[in-house]
Amino acid sequence: MADLKGYKGKSLDFLNENDIGIGDSVKIIADLAYTGILMPRYETSEDSHIVLKLKSGYNIGIELEEIEKIEKISSSEKTVVKENTKQTNPDLPKVLLLSTGGTIASTVDYRTGAVTPALTASDLNDAVPEIANIANVDAQVLFSEYSENLQPEHWIETAKKLKDLVDSDYKGIVIAHGTDTMHYSSAFLSFALSGFPIPVVLVGSQRSSDRPSSDAAVNLLAAIRFVVKIKTKGVFIVMHHNDTDDTVACHLGTRVRKNHTSKRSAFETIGNNPAFVINNDKIMNNLEKEFFTKKEFEPKLKIDTKVALVKYHPGYDPKQIENLIESGYKAIIFEGTGLGHVGKTMYNSIKKANESGLFLGMTSQCIDGRVRMTVYESGRDLMDLGIIPLNDIIPEVALVKTMWALGISENIDDVKKLMLENIASEFTE
């Protein structure tokens, strides 16, 4: 049976009856005559039309009811993809490019009609030939997922992959990653691979690589330049700095956040300048201290995901905290108001959580700035109830760090100690 991606019901029957598959050249007689190539259909579409690509390149939908006759002119050509013989220059440093998916490597998806991660990392290598002048890039596909589908087990798998490369001759590792959850992944890698000897850079694009204006190439080139030129250990995110294509920012993997839904410059370092600014061959360094506090590589890849991130708001039902305790949660990170507060209505539940042995940490929904719980009475009350203020850590980073800390020890005192220790520049000092 012919491949008929996206077609169903009436249109699927119609095409099967006429023995026509996607990619076939067909002639259709309706009230006008059309010749073109049958295209796949978005799965969510209804079943009364078929999609034809005309010679001009336009796609149109033709209603089945109007078709008097359909005729196959020729079957789909299987285009033979020419393997690019990659030339390597032994004088250039080696870099590993791991692909996890996301718009940096994407193509049309006829299931949803939207772009989907489908290109391999090696396609990307072919698409940006300038890379060959900077480094010898080995490309490997780790997974092919939208970043919203990446889960803590994907973090661990990525970290394992990197851990095994600790003695490799790569100058650095670049990870192509969807942008939506990139800063969760970078935070986990920062804690799990403390002291990793070569730079690790996560890179993505806000405009998919199937469009000429994509920021994929600019960001990827900057990421590779960065790991080749800079010897600093650490986990970083490399993305557009502003509207313009020349400058790319390199953020600390624990101090960065996606602050815009669509702009190229969506990623921002919270409360500081980006660690580096990359302008073609020039790299400006704003970094004041080592990324990792400890020099030695100490991989700790275990994780416990029984941590909740609770955003307090007026009207928050304290019952939800009790539900968390009952569901076996081991820690709650609060996104409190202002300097780190929650309303009085919460006190009883918080007290219960403390008594049940949960770790309770406070961050601020202001995103920028530190929590200071000693300024107001309510803050002091909360500290008495066992809430630990977590300085200026970004709420999402606090969540990831708690999962990681619980992976090391279930002992609440150990967790408290780890949570207040600066492991990978997650606190600004």
């Binding site: 010679k55 009609g113 509207d243």
Partner: protein, 630 residues
């Protein structure tokens, strides 16, 4: 010189009209379609060719990409949001624009698709920040009747207008973003045989059909026509940017002659060689051969560390300089081609010695390239890799020349000629716009479009005649002109005489334009202000032209400044009486001799003094009263 008869070369011309629609929003965002000349920000971008849905890269895109220019975009918050900056996905399709596209399709009896797919048409010359133009095929088929002949409609598309090119220099292109995303309807007609004059008539008829909808934008630059021109045995050449209908005929004539000239050149090539041109082993680096050369271009090129290369072309001596018609040579075609790679230095053997390249150097080159007497060569200088891209396209151009005129995209020039722009794009330039779901056209919408089909041109004209009591010719003139909306606005106040307003808008401004005054400097609100002043008797009718002249020459930027500059003021009746009394006293003898007949010469004298400060009518009335009273 060769014979040329435009009727006998199998000329076919297809028209493509791009008409901006009159909407309050752009096609895919909420920005207003307004013109801006001041900017609040700028940013730069690079574009690179991406693969199409079918996995191919479009040749035109690849060509543009190989030039690797940096784009600089200027934005104004009034007309630009994140969508224009390609920093946000497109919003929903503007409903009004869709309705108008359906209406125009119905008026042309074109078959509307019930499911429309928005496509991305790759355009990486920078005129779209995204690297593509969003476009959708709305309808196919249908026709328009011109001179009792049916001219078929090929396709009707709804699309986004492109950004405006401000300047292009040194590897940078500068654009303003105000026009980007303005809704545009593109109507492509079937190619017709017939005279260029007939084609012009078709363009006029189609333009009128659009104007009667009253849903299309009016004003300078809101309608543009491209023409596709071909002759027997040649590829179709698409010519972009024909601004005015007057230009259309001349451009078609030039292009037909150019293509026929290329056909004659191909005959010459075929008489010289039988086999296909190969060109693979014909490229030589000759920088060191020309170290002593006196040519300024070569000297400068060596100074700038450019490379100089030569291309050997076997058996084609005389072909590059062969000129079947004045200014039509293969050498010129190649010169235009390489300019697009930023390369200005190219010479062919038929034009040498010249430009400071002497016989001695030509001997070196011929010897180095092992040329026979009948062989030709080209010398080209430039930087790598641009020069290699250029050489590849030269060799391809020479190969193609053997087959006559080739399909390509050209641009109209102000001299009514055409110049190479880029290769013709193919189907691979289209990619589905994944950010926008398929658009359904309901039966209801189709019904509505049919109901809204506007009156015919003749009906519209007679309606204008009746409404404003002006003659047919003036009605047509004003309805065709860019100022029709303004005309209705000015006449709406019922203070001005419609025929006077129409003649100012049609003749006065056009006459000034013919005398090289710039109509684009004269904005609608300035014209409105001027008529307001006239209605309040603050200025005379005669002052209007003086004010427009001031503004259209750039001497004044507002009506009040123009009035100040030209020291226009209105005389009070008292002041006017004084002046006229003096004139009468000075010419009493004449008046006594000629009676009422003397009024003609007195009028002349009076108007010399008061032109622009009092109306001729008033002066005439006062004078005749005064003479009668004597």
């Amino acid at each position: 010189m060769s014979e040329f008869d435009i009727e006998k070369i199998g000329l076919k011309v297809g028209l493509e009209i791009h008409q901006q629609l009159d909407t309050h929003k752009k096609l895919f965002c909420n920005c207003k379609p307004v013109e801006n000349t001041e900017f609040t920000g700028k940013f730069t971008r690079k574009l690179r060719a991406a693969k199409s849905e079918l996995g191919k890269i479009d040749p035109a895109a690849l060509f543009e990409s190989s030039k690797s220019k940096t784009m600089v975009y200027y934005e104004n918050q009034n007309s630009c949001c994140l969508v224009e900056k390609d920093d946000e996905p497109p919003h929903d399709l503007e409903t009004k624009a869709k309705e108008t596209a359906l209406l125009i399709s119905s008026a042309l009896d074109s078959k509307i698709f019930s499911e429309i797919h928005v496509m991305r048409k790759t355009v990486i010359d920078g005129s779209n920040t995204s690297g593509f133009q969003r476009t959708m095929l709305v309808a196919q088929g249908g026709s328009i009747v011109v001179d009792e002949k049916q001219v078929g409609v090929q396709s009707i598309c709804l699309e986004e207008d492109a950004a405006k090119l401000i300047k292009d220099e040194d590897g940078h292109r500068f654009f303003s973003l105000d026009r980007l995303g303005v809704p545009l309807v593109e109507i492509a007609l079937e190619p017709v045989t017939g005279s260029p004059a007939f084609v012009r008539k078709i363009a006029l008829s189609l333009g009128r059909l659009l104007r009667v909808t009253k849903k299309v934008a009016r004003g300078i630059g809101t309608i543009r026509q491209d023409v596709n021109v071909s002759i027997d045995g040649g590829g179709v050449v698409e010519i972009k940017g024909v601004q005015q209908l007057e230009q259309l005929e001349k451009i078609i004539e030039y292009e037909a002659k150019r293509q026929y000239g290329l056909k004659l050149i191909s005959k010459k090539i075929n008489s010289l060689i039988k086999e296909n041109i190969d060109g693979d082993n014909d490229i030589f680096e000759i920088s060191n051969l020309l170290e002593q050369c006196n040519s300024e271009i070569i000297k400068q090129s060596l100074q700038n560390k450019n490379v100089i290369k030569a291309i050997r072309v076997k058996n084609l001596a005389g072909v590059f300089g062969f000129e079947p018609f004045p200014g039509i040579r293969l050498g010129k075609e190649i010169g235009q081609l390489v300019r697009f790679f930023g390369i200005g230095g190219i010479f062919h053997s038929d034009e040498l010695p010249n430009y400071g390249i002497e016989s001695k150097e030509i001997q070196y080159v011929r010897k180095n390239l092992e040329l026979e007497k009948d062989d030709a060569f080209l010398i080209i200088t430039g930087k790598e890799p641009a020069i290699d891209h250029a050489i590849n396209s030269i060799i391809k151009r020479i190969k193609d020349a053997k087959n006559g005129p080739i399909a390509e995209t050209r641009a109209a020039t102000p001299k009514n000629e055409t110049v190479f722009l880029r290769p013709r794009p193919g189907a691979s330039r289209m990619y589905p716009e994944t950010d926008i779901p398929t658009i359904k056209i309901s039966d209801n919408e189709l019904e509505n479009a049919k109901l809204m089909i506007p009156k015919s041109w003749d009906e519209s004209i007679s309606q204008i005649q009746n409404k404003y009591k002006i003659n047919e010719q003036l009605s047509e003139q004003i309805f065709d002109s860019e100022y029709f909306d303004l005309f209705e606005k000015i006449c709406g106040s019922k203070k001005s005489s419609p025929s006077f307003v129409a003649s100012v808008l049609c003749s006065t401004i056009t006459n000034l334009q013919r005398n090289s005054f710039d109509a684009s400097l004269l904005k609608d609100n300035e014209i409105l202000d001027t008529f307001d002043l006239l209605n309040d008797n603050k200025i005379s009718k005669e002052s209007i032209e003086i004010i427009f002249k001031q503004i259209m020459s750039g001497d004044a930027v507002s009506v009040s400044e123009a009035i100040q500059n030209a020291s226009i003021k209105s005389l009070t009746e008292e002041e006017l009486n004084k002046i006229l009394d003096v004139i009468i006293q000075d010419h009493l003898d004449e008046i006594k001799r000629d009676g009422m007949h003397s009024i003609r010469s007195l009028m002349g004298l009076a108007m010399k003094q008061v032109r622009g400060q009092a109306s001729g009518n008033l002066v005439n009335n006062l004078l005749s009263e005064k003479i009668k009273k004597l």
